[in-house]
Amino acid sequence: MDLNELLEIAEKERQRAASVRIRCCTAAGCASSGAEEIKDRLEQSIKDAGLDNTVEVCSVGCMKFCGRGPLVEIDIPGVLYQQVSGDQVEAIVDALKQNKAAESGATPLDREHPFFTLQQPIVLENSGKINPERIEEYIAVGGYQNLYHVIHDMSPDEVVDEVTRSGLRGRGGGGYPTGLKWATVAKMPEGQKYVICNADEGDPGAFMDRSVLESDPHRIIEGMAIAAYAIGANHGYIYVRAEYPLAIKRLETAIKQAKRLGLMGSQIFDSPFDFKIDIRVGAGAFVCGEETALMQSIEGGRGNPRPRPPYPAQSGLWHSPTLINNVETFANIPAIVREGADWFASIGTEKSKGTKVFALTGKIRNTGLIEVPMGIALREIVEKMGGGVPRGEVKAVQTGGPSGGCIPAHLFDTPVEYDSLIQLGTMMGSGGMIVMDTETSMVDVAQFYMEFCRGESCGKCIPCRAGTVQMYQMLTKILRGEATLIDLEQLERVCGMVKATSLCGLGQTAPNPVLSTLRYFREEYLELLKDSPKAQGVASR
């Protein structure tokens, strides 16, 4: 495979594509509301109408408005239909014939809604547009050309430098500078090195990484290959949880296709660069997202974290230097190579560059996937894009999942970036964003996350294993109205201790949802205490 052959595939694909396309989202969100059936019926209907020469029904990845699936988009007249049901299929095909929006049944979505207009797709630029199961479509939108460019026109150091200058930070939660991580692994002595894509995504309420994998798997492969070239690795692993069967299937298909075209394997693009990727399916334990546990799991052991240092960059998989990045981190790479570091660095804020994908869920009108520039105010997301809550008022937004915390409504003007969120006592996390309304009890929320951590603790270290159980019990006691101020003090003490002494990130951050709700909604805790004036008032009434 050389560049000409690649461009030929792209050209052929562009010519092949029918003039009119009907795109059906078949990613997990829409699939769960019957998207496959809609797609089949559309195909049949098009055939019956004798349109199959000019109209093509394509299966595509997530179109972002997951809460309104199944979604169907028609190029002409440019309509995106929501909640399409089987009996609306005829009407849609009719509308297509007459070149106008359907009137009977299917409701078009307003593409001018801030939900769409405030988005800035980089990671999701192909999502919902191309068929994730056809490599030709990825190549037609410029795919694998960045890899070619990197291999032939850049030295590994130049690639690392480009990523460093882009200011990209890890999207897996911590926000560690990606370029610095790449540089560290690149500087390790030559020899066996590995690249790992962390696609474990265990946070409750999060589905960003899954969407990227399902919608644009070749993007991850290209990103990983570029990383491998930059650091001198020849072997990569994608660690993905078994709960994501569609993502696994599409990744497998993508890897097969890339191999077939010689974009994976030995001497890629007729260069000395060799690279292959294997998929490792995890059983779905939250702790296996922690990098040292993940590597243990890939090696076939029990997914237990180990103390760091040594960091994976020094001693990772089978003691070799290993680069481990999140799905979204890798997904940014092809765009950075294509458009350049300066372009990427011009998006976002001073210390948080680029965009961030969030899974917007909870008590909100518009649930779905959003990709927004860093620095956007939380208010824009919740009120404008999300359309607020259906009933009552917005009370808080939870970010960072079990490691994060809640941001109260009065702080919604805060820009969304790594450091500002940390200052508020939460974190960017991997991108779960759960909206809560005034009916939500924050103590309940804290208990929910503690229940999660209690169940997900690997059990290796005492503070996390036994501390989370104790904290959960104290929260339950508070919720039952059986606790006193002493229990609350005890809770805070144990929170601090578990945070400071746990072995891995799970335990070190498990107290965060409690601490954050205590910080902003302390009165809710106090009201539940047995000896609080308020509770006594209730008792005597």
Binding site: E456, C458, G459, C461, A466, G467, Q473, Q490, M497, A500
Partner: protein
């Protein structure tokens, strides 16, 4: 061989490169409490009792797996550390069922020693009274999970010194448990050579010799170290 200079609790010391903070402290007469550490087997940094403060590091570091570095300023016994250690011991007592009065290890138990050391006379955290099993299917030994603190010393000693790998860990979180074989009764595991090394390694009365009566447990901790040294340096007498 290179030498590092550092201070432990304000006392300057010089020590060989590659030494752990724990060894450095012990060699210089500074005591740091430990539970999952056992001389002769690998360290896992799991119990967190040996955490120390190191200048320049925002996080506490486990002394058993942290190597000394030039210029380190280590504090091993600050008030914060004392408080954390006491809470860890409380968590352990609250987690299992430790009825010392009827335990073979009474008076010879590292958990008891720790409780005394950290000044724990009662647990501020409620006891959980979990339902746990006892397995006496082995001819000579038994395990009482009520007294297990999940230090995995038995797992490591059996794997690394005896080479039998009879023990392993199963489940997670509150359900975490050491198991024998493929979660079989110990007596049914053919791989066990009945060497008794796990009995010697266990810090509490969890793994015991059958027929021992209350407070009778004696362990030969030096045996493990002896075996390791014997293999390494070919010294077969002690």
């Amino acid at each position: 061989m290179s030498v590092k200079t550092l201070t432990i609790d304000g006392v300057p010391i010089a020590i060989e490169e590659g030494t752990t903070v724990l060894e450095a402290a012990r060699q210089n007469g500074v005591h740091i409490p430990t539970l999952c550490h056992l001389e002769g087997i690998s360290d896992v940094g799991a119990c967190r009792l040996c955490l120390v403060e190191i200048n320049g590091s925002p996080k506490l570091q486990p002394a058993c797996v942290t190597e000394v570095a030039e210029g380190m300023n280590i504090r091993t016994n600050t008030e914060t550390l004392q408080d954390y250690r006491r809470t860890i011991v409380e968590l352990l007592f609250a987690e299992g069922n430790h009825v010392c009065a009827v335990c073979v290890a009474n008076g010879h138990c590292e958990l008891q020693d720790l409780a005394i050391e950290v000044g724990m006379d009662h647990s501020r955290l409620p006891y959980r009274f979990p339902e746990r099993e006892i397995d006496v299917s082995h001819d000579r030994f038994g395990i009482d999970h009520n007294r297990c603190v999940l230090c995995t010393r038995c797992v490591r000693v059996c794997d690394e010194i005896e080479g039998a790998h009879v023990w392993d860990v199963a489940y997670r979180g509150a359900a975490l448990k050491v198991v024998t074989g493929l979660n079989q009764p110990w007596g049914a595991v053919d791989a066990c050579t009945s060497c008794g090394k796990c009995v010697d390694a266990c810090p509490t009365g969890a793994i015991f010799r059958k027929g021992s009566t209350v407070a009778e447990m004696e362990r030969d901790r030096d045996r493990l170290e002896f075996i390791v040294n014997a293999r390494k340096d070919h010294q077969w007498t002690r």
